[in-house]
């Protein structure tokens, strides 16, 4: 009786989580004429996928997203790791205030910063350029990097840093040669989170880009349309294409991601 209840609960939970996405996969495989059916497609086809990639436009969009997300990740890790090390191990005045300020900044509604950023990006000539997205993405990515990496550097034994200093390392050498390699797992977790959040970002990308060839994945999917009816199979195919890498990445690194996501939330 109890086992039956658990089994039902498990089935319901699994359906809730995965069902809608599986339906999207089915939609992407259905030929046009079977789109109104409930049953499994009798003649599954990859035609929608071929149509999505027709004319290179969508491949370009994916490349854009990949470039923006990678650059954001690299930038945030580079300046974030150095700062996190200093916050964790050096006597920086006001470090509590800085971490609090970073957390506060990550909670800004993006709509409250988008206007001046738009004017700034336009003035710098970066409007409709992918480079114009990387810095705004630091608004949410850098605070996350600082928090997760500071926690990681704090977990490393303080004696490591002291020993390196006694052996003649400068603070930077101690960071670069001793602590950074040991913090590699933290860098991976942070990098993945920043990459996923940047890949998924919508409001800034919608505002700061205008031409179709400079769009990122979320903008392209939101504005996906054709001159005829809504191309549901194509939208579904595009959704599956951009989501599958994320789902695989997430599942492969699930333990790390979960610890990174919940670290800030439950220590309190």
């Amino acid at each position: 009786m109890k086992r039956l209840g658990l089994l039902l609960a498990m089935t319901a939970a699994l359906t809730f989580c995965v069902g809608p996405f599986l339906w999207q996969v089915l939609t992407s495989l259905r030929p046009e004429t079977e789109q109104t059916r409930l049953a499994l497609p009798t003649r599954p086809t990859l035609q929608a996928y071929a149509e999505v990639f027709e004319g290179r436009a969508f491949a370009q969009v994916m490349l854009n997203s990949f470039a923006v997300a990678s650059l954001t990740t690299l930038l945030c890790l580079a300046i974030g790791a150095l700062a996190a090390f200093a916050l964790a191990r050096l006597p920086v005045p006001g470090r509590g205030a800085l971490l609090a300020a970073a957390l506060g900044a990550s909670m800004f509604p993006p709509i409250a910063t988008v206007g001046p950023l738009f004017l700034l990006i336009r003035a710098l000539g970066l409007r409709d350029q992918l480079a114009g997205l990387v810095l705004p993405y630091a608004t949410f990515a850098l605070p996350l990097t600082l928090w997760v990496l500071t926690a990681h550097f704090r977990q490393l034994p303080p004696d490591l840093y002291r020993a390196a200093r006694i052996d003649g390392c400068t603070p930077f050498a101690a960071f670069w040669r001793v602590l950074l390699p040991l913090a590699a797992p933290g860098l991976v977790t942070t990098g993945l989170l920043v990459f996923i959040f940047s890949w998924n970002e919508f409001l800034y990308a919608l505002t700061f880009t205008s031409s179709p060839e400079h769009r990122t994945v979320p903008v392209a999917i939101a504005l996906f349309a054709s001159e005829h009816a809504e191309p549901w199979a194509q939208i579904a195919a595009a959704s599956v294409i951009v989501t599958l890498p994320l789902v695989i990445l997430t599942l492969a690194f699930q333990r790390r991601l979960v610890s990174g996501l919940t670290a800030g939330a439950v220590k309190g």
Binding site: L6, C17, L82, A83, A86, P91, M107, T113, P116, T262
Partner: protein, 285 residues
């Protein structure tokens, strides 16, 4: 150079970037809210609190505020309730726990825009699964005032319940097992243990999840904008969507910024609660 100086040098780039992409634009938005500033007319002049006076008289603003508050309250309550069920299930079962944990991450990993599109198809009035599965009159969920906002809530709940579940699961795992066992020995049933031991001890995690999700819900943009665009008849227009339309569609940077600052103030109240909950316990050791 002293360690202190080097430390300052090391945090300088991060501080500079944060100042440039967070502090400068937020101050800029507040400053713009005191101007009449319309890009296409090259008009930009100081008007003091005129925009704010307009805002308090603006029925569309109040309606957007109510929509946002309703959306946040209903969505976050549902996410906490469902998230708690998921967390208890993940904590309790042994067989298939890995499978469920992996499945829970699927909605989390899906981009919000994609999940809005996915549900847009499920809610499609002609071919959507929802319309065909629900008994009774066919309702056009996305085109009917009163229904559309709840459709948006469904999307938000689906997408973010996993996050809540993971936070609550971490909270559950921090509760010593002995407490439940001792209570069971004293004759307490599972429900009694849940109510008298688990839930009180889970309160910090529940509070953090609630405020964290509340923050996100108050600034919601992607999910609703892609699903309904704020329609029908502006019934799903949240504060962020109204501000976005005023800023980018009408090009009215003065009034748009005023709405954006109002959004910021609402979110800040919640953020202050969150900081108060989390920061003091994480001071450098």
């Amino acid at each position: 150079m002293t360690e202190r100086r080097q430390g300052l040098l090391f945090v300088a780039p991060a501080v500079a970037v944060l100042a440039g992409v967070a502090l400068y634009p937020i101050l800029g938005t507040i400053w713009l809210s005191l101007h009449r500033s319309i890009l296409v007319f090259h008009e930009h002049r100081f008007v003091g609190f005129d925009n704010w006076a307009t805002l308090f008289e603006d029925a569309r603003f109040w309606s957007a505020l109510v929509t946002t508050l309703y959306f946040s309250a209903v969505a976050v309550s549902a996410e906490l309730a469902l998230g708690l069920l998921f967390a208890l299930l993940l904590h309790g079962v042994f067989r298939g726990r890995g499978l469920l944990r992996a499945a829970v991450l699927v909605p989390w990993a899906i981009p919000t825009v994609v999940s809005a599109r996915l549900w847009g198809w499920l809610f499609n009035p002609d071919h959507g699964l929802v319309a065909r599965m629900l008994p009774g009159d066919e309702v056009n969920w996305l085109g009917t005032p009163g229904y559309a906002l709840h459709a948006a809530i469904v999307v938000d709940v689906w997408k973010t319940t996993p996050f809540v579940a993971l936070i609550l699961l971490a909270g559950l795992q921090a509760i010593p097992v002995e407490l439940g066992r001792a209570a069971a020995l004293d004759g307490a049933g599972p429900l009694r243990i849940l109510w008298s031991i688990t839930l009180p001890l889970l309160r910090p995690a529940l509070a953090v999840a609630a405020v964290f999700r509340g923050l996100d819900a108050m600034r919601v943009f992607d999910a609703v904008y892609v699903l309904t665009g704020g329609g029908p008849a502006n019934t799903t227009e949240t504060l962020s969507i109204y501000a976005y339309k005023t800023l980018m569609r009408s090009g009215d940077f003065g009034y748009g910024s005023t709405i954006a600052v109002a959004t910021f103030v609402c979110v800040s109240v919640l953020a202050a609660i969150y900081l108060w909950l989390v920061v003091p316990t994480q001071e450098p050791a």
